[in-house]
């Protein structure tokens, strides 16, 4: 080997250290960049070979694919439980339980007002109180019904927003696929582009259930329910299909090319759809059942009784469900402004209070939807039914909060592990910096030694 060849080694050594130093600088400057994976030079010692080839160094990002996969799987659960926990919490607050303003208390006051009426059937003040209690009860039920529908509408709006985000992120991933493929064709890793693409994949996985496969050309294929939303640089969008469901227009997700349904089972979208299509409609149905039972059972008894004016056959409540239950305000049969029309008497005599007593008894018995008092599998006790509805939903809220907490713990543990593998440690980079500095110094030293040796050699000739 010639001394002149050794100069090349020295040059290469200096260049390698400079290149490494550049990577270290990049790591330090990105210490706070979200999603940045630290890079390392694949350090192969520069060896002189027969072909006089010297290794070119290459930078690679340090990343654990298994952790990435784990995070993406758990992110779907996180998105699902996070949105459910948020919306369930909102729903739970509607009920105002346990408090004086909750329906539990209002129902009790309503039944009690009938007993007060039974004690003083001739008293107009007592009669007015019955109407007031009926109105507050009915209005509370109306309020809950409309608040539930508002939240259902909110959930649907969220779905529209999320749909847009999903398409945006998926199309970005397709773009990055194209860029990464063209850069990596030259053999160089497109580290920063991969970092960016990973961020989009993480975000997408929180929104909807995705699975991914990395292809040999560096692109990532993204599937939702077995169908590719991204393959190579092709983005296959999903779109909204509006249908009417439960009295409102809701957004369903379909594939834009053939309108087939997108199979959704996790992520924020799944949590939103479940809340919109199952949780809230179930609750609304329960309140409708409660309202119908209340309306029919009270009316059935009330109809048979007589007001102070000796007229019978009037309804106390009107309406067909939770949305429109109210104290009968009909112009000719209405109770609202006519306390004398409340039927407390069974036979028309003022002192007879049997109807008022019978209505008060509804607080303890089981009644069917059409208002028949019977102990059977399809009959309910109104107060108990309400309490069970609210408290079993309370259990759902508690469960979703607990699930969210545990998924959060899993995700943050995974994030920490990812950070531990891919994150930048300043201390480490400083060490690296000194190491490279020393190596550079040594390389220059080596150069000057070779230089001196060449000098010496030249002097022999001279």
């Amino acid at each position: 080997m010639s001394l002149l060849g050794s100069l090349d080694i020295g040059k290469r050594a200096m260049m390698n250290q400079t290149q490494s130093l550049k990577i270290t600088g990049e790591n330090i400057s990105n210490v706070n960049t979200p999603g940045y994976s630290r890079k390392r030079i694949e350090v192969k010692s520069s060896i002189y070979t027969e072909q006089r080839e010297l290794n070119f160094l290459e930078s690679r990002r340090i990343r654990d694919k298994f952790i990435d996969k784990g995070i993406r799987n758990e992110s779907q659960n996180l998105g699902n439980w996070e949105i459910k926990s948020q919306l369930y919490g909102q729903i739970e607050r509607i009920f105002l339980e346990p408090s004086e303003n909750g329906i539990n208390n209002l129902l009790g006051e309503f039944w009690n007002s009938w007993e007060d009426l039974a004690n003083n059937p001739e008293n107009m003040t007592t009669r007015a109180v019955v109407i007031q209690r009926g109105i507050s009860l009915a209005q509370s039920i109306n309020r809950i019904d409309s608040a539930l529908k508002d939240i259902r509408k909110t959930a649907n709006d969220y779905i529209d927003d999320r749909l847009e985000l999903i398409n945006q992120k998926a199309s970005q991933i397709a773009n990055y696929n194209a860029k990464i493929q063209s850069i990596e064709a030259s053999g160089q890793e497109a580290s920063n582009l991969r970092d960016k693409r990973d961020i989009f994949l993480d975000e997408l996985s929180k929104l909807i259930n995705i699975s991914t496969i990395e292809r040999d050309n560096g692109t990532i294929a993204v599937f939702i329910g077995g169908r590719a939303i991204v393959e190579d640089n092709i983005f296959n969008p999903i779109k909204a299909n509006n249908i009417s469901s439960g009295g409102m227009v809701v957004t369903n997700l379909v594939w834009a090319d053939d309108f087939s349904k997108v199979e959704i089972n996790n992520g924020e979208i799944a949590g939103l759809i479940q809340t919109r299509d199952e949780t809230i409609p179930n609750l609304i149905e329960k309140f409708d059942q409660l309202s119908q039972t209340l309306i029919n059972s009270v009316n059935k008894i009330h109809n048979a009784g007589f007001g102070l004016d000796g007229v019978s056959g009037r309804d106390f409540f009107s309406g067909t469900g939770a949305s429109d239950i109210k104290v009968n305000d009909d112009a000719t049969t209405g109770i609202v402004d006519h306390p004398e029309r409340i039927a407390a008497s069974q036979n028309g005599e003022v002192g007879n209070n049997q109807i008022a007593l019978d209505i008060a008894k509804l607080s303890d018995v089981r009644v069917t939807l059409d208002g028949t008092i019977i102990d059977s599998s399809d009959s309910i006790n109104i107060s108990k039914f309400y309490s069970e509805t609210v408290n079993s939903f309370g259990t759902d809220v508690k469960l979703s909060n607990m699930m969210l907490e545990s998924v959060q713990m899993i995700v943050s543990d995974l994030e920490e592990r990812k950070e531990s593998v891919s994150g930048v440690s300043l201390d480490e980079e400083m060490t690296e910096l000194i190491r490279l500095q020393k190596a550079y110094e040594s390389a220059t030293k080596y150069m000057s030694v070779i230089d001196e040796m060449l000098d010496t050699l030249m002097r022999i000739g001279g």
């Binding site: 009920f95 339980e97 607080s363 060490t431």
Partner: protein, 298 residues
């Protein structure tokens, strides 16, 4: 494990968040004095509280019913006591007047007294309690006894009025239709008929009729005392129901409080320890973020 700067920072932030959250939860419990402010805080406890509140409302309503029935019955008894006193007075008069030594003039004078007595009796029979007639059956807004000339007639009905004075479905009859107490009137039977016959006997100076009036007045007195006995039984049943309901009310309130209300001493201690934990987290965070880096020594 490789620990990077970000891990240290995020752990510090998480630590502060968690302790702050705990502190805020304890503070909320102390501020509201409630363990359960939403069903999800404790679904089982919350359903227990709701059921207890429902029972409590029922108990309180039943107590109100009891008070109402008790007032009505006690008032009825007061009226009947005066009826009874008046009848005893009439009986005494009758036994004095039955004597052969009494002259017709004296009997006429007493006859006038009895006429006044009949009017007083009519007033008692038409007594009102908070504007409802207590002896008119279910026709509580109608005067039960109407006087036309010398005739007094019952126009109320036989309707009974029930009120719920115990937990459960059963009601107690709290009224006594006048027909059971005073009878149907001067033409038919009852107190007014007996008194009218007594007065007529005095007017006509008929010793035999006066004598038979004594027995009839005794019969009416018996009827009144039977009704008063019934009232006594009802009132004592109400009293014992009130006692039971009062102690049930206390125990329900205690149950509710046990589930719902916070143990202040315990929460205060918890608050102190949460506060310390939070301060410790702040201190640790401040310290760890100020730790020197390798670069400080190079």
């Amino acid at each position: 494990m490789r620990v990077t700067d970000k891990i240290i920072q995020e752990r510090a932030i998480k630590g502060m968040e968690q302790t702050a959250q705990k502190l805020s939860k304890t503070h909320h419990r102390i501020a509201t004095t409630k363990n359960i402010s939403r069903p999800s805080d404790d679904p089982i406890g919350s359903s227990q509280i709701m059921a207890n509140y429902k029972d409590l409302a029922k108990v309180q309503q039943t107590l109100r019913n009891c008070e109402n029935a008790d007032n009505l019955l006690s008032y009825t008894d007061t009226i009947l006591e005066r009826v009874s006193d008046m009848l005893i007075d009439a009986r005494q008069k009758a036994s004095v007047m039955a004597s052969d030594t009494v002259g017709s003039e004296e009997r006429k004078t007493v006859a006038n007294e009895v006429a006044i007595m009949i009017d007083q009796m009519l007033q008692l029979a038409n007594s009102q309690f908070s504007r409802r007639y207590i002896f008119s059956g279910q026709k509580i807004l109608d005067t039960p006894y109407i006087k036309t000339g010398d005739n007094i007639e019952y126009v109320g009905d036989e309707g009974e009025i029930g009120q719920r004075v115990e937990l459960g479905q059963d009601t107690m009859v709290v009224n006594f239709p006048g027909s059971r107490v005073f009878g149907y009137g001067t033409e038919t039977d009852g107190i007014f008929k007996v008194l009218k016959e007594f007065k007529d006997a005095l007017d006509s100076n008929n010793t035999k009729e006066i004598n038979s009036a004594i027995g009839k007045i005794d019969d009416e007195l018996d009827k009144i005392s039977i009704v008063r006995g019934e009232i006594g039984v009802k009132v004592s049943r109400i009293q014992s129901s009130i006692e039971g309901l009062n102690s049930l009310e206390i125990s329900l309130k205690k149950d509710i409080s046990q589930v719902e209300d916070v143990d202040m001493a315990e929460e205060a201690a918890q608050f102190m320890s949460d506060q310390e934990a939070y301060q410790a987290a702040l201190h640790a965070t401040a310290t760890i973020l100020k730790l020197p880096k390798l670069s400080d020594y190079i």
